[in-house]
């Protein structure tokens, strides 16, 4: 083990000597009281509206995240209006990859709100610390209790019921901390039936069952070092996907890691944290509950990843930096087996992911330098190496004769930004450049049925790297009573990967209408804008509003799919003593720039009104919060631009929840 440390040291020192690229680090801890040192302000896992949120609902409250929804469960997060291939989604820096070819299991579906402490969202190349990206990064931070000088127990239990889909949930977590040892544990159950839309019609196949548990143990090996092991186990069963022709029978994930952390009192390096991890995801679909299916098909998928993430925080005077080494190996396997109507006949078999290995290594650095009291420069970069190997490359060679079994790519990334504070005004401007490799599906997918546009998708191993050039800027004003901030970003993406109709080839899945191959557009442009404002009307009455707009076009000026129309959210929050009342109004305007070419139709405008109230009181030393509320109070019938197959969203939902914490 010692030798390993020395190797890492040398590696880091070497990197520091020729550090060309880097980013922002505001503080570094000096004593090991926190197990985590996170530079960026964290968001707590609860929204203002609702305290018992799912991870999806929580992410939805961020203004640069939107969702593709295939049902009530496992929403696919879109960052800056870009799908998950373009962002890196990690859990404490660990890469986890879903095992479903139809993206029914984004990583966010394998965690639960009670084992997360925060979600760290970074836009664009600033997020390249965790790996090559175009859209940015979403890092789900797990809960980890700090060491304490006295023995302490803390915990919370939360239960609730939501009337629309009869969701009943129980979430519990317990922590123990002492001077030397910390233990965190959590467990959760959620069970929901079908939900009802705004016309009070049942949306069939929208039920779900989820079980999640996690454990984390930390041991202080010296005043300045600690080891920690973590594990999350997640199991979802009998999950309906109303927008898809099949459901989920079972998915299971185990996410494990062991880390070592060292703090330094003196010198340039302040924290060094190294973690090895292993995770395995299995995902089995089920179409037996859909009698309309002509052909029964098994579609199991497996994804196994192991890796290393090692990071160091540096600080000297006005300069601070973060260096991170990432390395992982992923094996993605997905099978399809179709059963003929005459079951005595031979089944038909193919791989939709023919045992695709991805190996990725990157070194990334973010630097931050305070030039003066009120201005700062952030700059950084990453250099990644991506390797793919398709074990059964003969599948890929059917559409791409002679393609190589192995493919290596170099993925560079650079970014820089400048922040300026002038009295109550703040400004920032930044730019970035980065490459990303095609995902497993984009590179090696084989007849992956997409029920949105009803095409079978074929990957292309020889796709070029997607290259992003981005610019971003923000301006804000803040005083005691109010704040307003405008943020814009613009991406010019070369070799933008998207599915295009292949005139050759016929579909394999009986619902599909044709075959699409992943190809590179010459370029695409994306523009995102968000305007946030808050105003304290009275001491106990606060107003908040958000307006977002996005526009994206391909190289011929046509619209790209899944781009959020002009949307708004406005909320009022009243707090007096132990009573809180919140109300919010949100909606999208009519989707003007939709893309029929990619299977979209125009989605009309909608507006949703939500309201909730909570009351806090103490039972002995136990803090108790009772909450009652209603989402979609007016029972509006609607579906959003990103609802797969225009399935209607949930109608009026009355929710209750009770939380005890000590």
């Amino acid at each position: 083990m010692k030798k390993l440390y020395i190797i890492f040291w040398t590696l880091f020192l070497g990197m520091n000597a020729n550090a060309q690229n880097t980013q922002a680090q505001k503080d570094t801890a000096k004593v090991l009281e926190e197990v985590k040192v996170i530079a960026i302000a964290k968001k707590k896992i609860q929204t203002e509206m609702k305290m018992a949120v799912t991870v999806d609902e929580f992410l939805a409250s961020s203004d640069n995240i939107s969702f593709i929804k295939r049902g009530a469960y496992a929403w696919e997060p879109l960052l800056n209006n870009m799908s998950t291939e373009r962002s890196t989604i990690t859990i404490d820096g660990m890469h986890v990859f879903g095992a479903c070819t139809d993206k029914m299991d984004p990583i966010t579906s394998y965690v639960e709100s009670n084992n997360l402490s925060a979600v760290d969202i970074k836009s664009g190349q600033e997020g390249s610390l965790h790996g090559a990206t175009v859209a940015g990064s979403i890092d789900l931070k797990r809960k980890s209790t700090p060491f304490s000088s006295e023995k302490q127990y803390s915990g919370a239990y939360q239960t609730g019921f939501e009337f629309n889909n009869k969701q009943f949930f129980n979430l519990g977590n317990l922590s123990y901390s002492s001077d030397k040892f910390v233990a965190d544990g959590s467990i959760s159950f959620r069970k929901a039936g079908d939900y009802y839309d705004g016309n009070n019609n049942e949306v069939n196949h929208s039920q779900y069952n989820k079980f999640n548990t996690s454990v984390g143990l930390a041991y202080k090996t010296s005043p300045f070092s600690a080891v920690r092991v973590d594990a999350i186990f997640d199991k979802a069963k009998n999950v309906g996907f109303p927008a898809l022709p099949m459901d989920l029978w079972l998915s299971r994930a185990i996410i494990t890691s062991a880390s070592y952390k060292q703090l330094f009192q003196h010198g340039l390096i302040r924290v060094w944290d190294t973690k090895v991890y292993y995770n395995a995801v299995e995902h089995y679909m089920d179409d037996t509950k859909r009698p309309e299916n002509l052909v029964h098909m098994d579609m199991p998928g497996w994804s196994t990843t192991y890796g290393l993430v090692s990071r160091a925080n540096l600080k000297r005077g006005d300069y601070s930096a973060e260096i991170q080494l990432n390395a992982y190996n992923n094996l993605s396997i997905a099978e399809m087996r179709m059963y003929p109507q005459d079951r005595s006949k031979r089944t038909m078999f193919a791989y939709s992911w023919p045992w695709v290995t991805t190996r990725f290594t990157s070194v990334a650095m973010n630097n931050s330098w305070d030039i003066s009291e009120n201005s700062r420069v952030n700059f950084g970069g990453s250099l990644g190496y991506n390797y793919n190997r398709s074990k059964y490359v003969e599948f890929n060679r059917i559409f791409h004769p002679g393609t190589a079994q192995e493919k290596s790519r170099i993925l560079p990334g650079l970014h820089a930004s400048y922040e300026l504070q002038v009295k109550q005004f703040s400004f920032s401007a930044g730019t970035g450049y980065g490459h990303r490799a095609p995902s497993v599906s984009e590179g090696y997918g084989y007849y992956i049925y997409n029920s949105f546009d009803r095409y079978d998708y074929i990957g292309n191993p020889d796709l070029k790297n997607e290259i992003s050039y981005e610019a971003n800027a923000s301006a804000g004003f803040k005083n005691e009573r109010m704040g307003i901030e405008a943020k814009v970003n613009y991406f010019y993406i070369q070799n933008y990967i998207i599915g295009r109709i292949l005139s050759l080839g016929s579909p394999m899945n009986y619902q599909s209408v044709g075959v699409k191959g992943y190809t590179s557009l010459d370029h695409a442009r994306l523009f995102n804008m968000a305007l946030n404002a808050n105003y304290n009307i009275l001491q106990h009455l606060h107003w908040k509003g958000t307006l977002t707009y996005a526009r994206a076009t391909d190289d011929k000026g046509g619209n790209l799919p899944f781009i959020r129309p002009l949307s708004y959210q406005t909320s009022l929050h009243f707090m007096y003593k132990s009573i809180g009342i919140q109300t919010s109004l949100n909606g999208d305007l009519t989707q003007i720039n939709y893309s029929p070419e990619y299977g979209e139709d125009q989605t009309p405008a909608y507006m949703i009104l939500n309201i909730s109230a909570n009351y806090s009181f103490n039972i002995k030393n136990c803090k108790t919060v009772l909450q009652v509320g209603a989402e979609n109070l007016l029972n509006e019938y609607y579906s959003t631009y990103a609802d797969w197959g225009n399935i209607p969203r949930m109608g009026r939902n009355i929710f209750t929840s009770l939380k005890f914490s000590f």
Binding site: V229, Y278, R337, F349, A350, I398, S506, P507
Partner: protein, 308 residues
């Protein structure tokens, strides 16, 4: 740290045991396809102190295309004997007294490196009560002819990838198309090899001692084209096809070579259109290319079904 590693190891092991087993892809195809590599003796004929050993894959003659190897040894010394020529003629005697043959190489070619004669026979039926097969050979050693015959058994070909079809073309000739390769296709681009044979109708009545080779003459047809359209006939597959296939054309060894792409395992129909050297269609029809889920795929009037 050790505890941590132990803990991780336990967790990892518990996960490696997946709920559903992954498919063993190599074994998957082998469930319905038997592949034979080895030539074994399928028949032995003794003739005046010489033993003529006829080898076929797996030591069995199957309906369809059979590559054969013929070795001659001295029965007493067991030494390999070099013959100057070997002629080979399979004949089926029907229960009704008819005699027919099948496509075969009459004058076997000598493989000097491995010291055996090589040829082929495309048996058009299995041995059964309606007919039995006999091999007539004639070996010339030191200018002396040693004729011999041997009853053989032709078995059903269990591997559908070596299927054959016999038909009458629009020119009134009798044709046989037999699949030669691949024995064991993959979900991949496969080189498809077939033999196309024509019965040379005798112009004169039989003469001489039985069998008169002129009555049983078959030939490989030259410069034909076999247009290929592979499709999955299963109704749920909706007439699914593949891309980048190539029509079969004749190569120097007389066989026809093309490319077939199988996109998944299962039943496939190779729809053919056979054109003669002048591009005239002798057999076969175009098949619909529409995607028709729920409807069994329409086949060409000339096709061979395979399964893997």
């Amino acid at each position: 740290m050790e505890k941590a590693i132990f803990f991780l190891a336990v967790v990892c092991l518990s996960v490696i045991s997946c709920t559903k087993e992954k498919t063993d892809y190599e074994a998957e195809i082998a469930t319905v396809v038997t592949e034979h590599y080895e030539f074994k003796e399928a028949a032995a004929i003794s003739s005046e102190g010489y033993t003529i050993s006829i080898e076929a894959l797996n030591g069995t003659f199957y309906k369809g295309y059979n590559e054969i190897r013929l070795k001659i040894t001295d029965t007493r010394t067991n030494e390999n004997i070099h013959a100057s020529s070997v002629i080979f003629l399979p004949v089926m005697s029907g229960a009704d007294g008819s005699n027919t043959s099948c496509p075969h190489l009459y004058d076997l070619t000598y493989n000097a490196d491995d010291k055996y004669f090589t040829g082929y026979a495309v048996f058009t039926s299995e041995s059964n009560t309606n007919g039995s097969w006999e091999l007539y050979t004639s070996v010339i050693i030191n200018n002396k002819t040693y004729p011999a015959k041997q009853n053989i058994t032709v078995q059903e070909q269990p591997n559908k990838n070596l299927n054959m079809t016999a038909f009458t073309g629009k020119d009134g000739e009798q044709y046989i198309i037999a699949l030669v390769s691949p024995q064991k296709p993959k979900v991949a681009e496969n080189e498809l090899v077939a033999g196309i044979y024509k019965f040379n109708k005798p112009t004169t009545p039989p003469s001489g001692s039985f069998p008169d080779p002129s009555q049983f003459s078959y030939a490989e047809v030259n410069d034909y084209t076999l247009q290929l359209d592979p499709r999955m006939p299963e109704p749920s597959m909706g007439n699914h096809s593949s891309i980048n296939n190539k029509d079969l054309t004749q190569q120097s060894d007389g066989l026809y070579y093309g490319i077939v792409n199988y996109t998944m395992t299962g039943n496939w129909t190779l729809n053919f259109i056979m054109l003669n050297q002048n591009g005239k269609i002798l057999k076969g029809t175009e098949v619909p290319t529409d995607f028709t889920p729920g409807v069994e795929g329409v086949k060409s009037e000339l096709y061979i079904d395979i399964l893997f």
